[in-house]
Amino acid sequence: MDSLHAIGFYVSAALAGVGGILLAFLPGHWRRGLALGATGLGVAGIYASLSAGFAAIIVLVCYLGCALLVARPDYRTVEPAAGGLWRQVGAVGAALLLVALAYAAFRGGSAHATFYGGPFNTMAVARLLFAHDALATDAVGALVLAALVGAAIAWRRERPRDEREGRR
């Protein structure tokens, strides 16, 4: 990998990281959408610098879609009634995990190993799923997306007032 690709990789990784940190701490819908879009742009840059151009385009489109959804001003704010303390303890645990991973990446090295498990192999499964049946896998992904979007649209549709009150 030449130094231009390496610079692209590190700049994109920094953009994705800064976007994620802004996503964690910025208030407001459109600011969060902007931060998620920056994260998607950084991830797409990482993919592009790793010679995965098609994946970069798909990721850019999908994450811009996510950003537009998050930036919408008209969805409700949903807050749980309890459990905030434990959730934030979990967040501190995730931050500690990040520190531990950083230490492991700083001190650790790569290990070479050979897997003799026969046909029960992730590479074999991946080859079967994504090389032999790539079109079917893409079709399943498109089906999941259509189902999720359909469920979301159905849930967002306003019900008539009498139906709402009748179900209470």
Partner: protein, 91 residues
């Protein structure tokens, strides 16, 4: 300056941990949902990196395929979450 598998996995682990932090830190559930695409991005970067640097046999498109599916799943999950939250009603 060079990029190795270790640096790619470090970025992937960082993105995954950052997504977990967002999902756990935000009090508002729809804001916490935005941690999910970040976690999926970390997983996708790991797949693409392993396919780019670690695949000795087989095409590197295998990891890219998983990254594409993860991005589509992230979009579907965010769409479903925002849909489940519902609109602000003008009552």
């Amino acid at each position: 300056m060079s990029v190795t598998l270790v640096s790619v996995l470090f970025v992937a682990a960082g993105l995954t941990a950052l997504g977990a932090f967002i999902a756990a830190w935000k009090r508002e559930l729809t804001a916490a949902l935005t941690g999910l695409p970040v976690m999926f991005a970390g997983a996708g970067v790991a797949f693409v990196g392993v396919a780019r640097f670690g695949a000795t046999s087989g095409a590197p498109v295998l990891g890219q395929e998983v990254a594409v599916l993860l991005a589509i799943a992230a979009l579907g999950a965010v769409g479903l979450g925002v849909g489940l939250a519902g609109r602000e009603s003008s009552r």
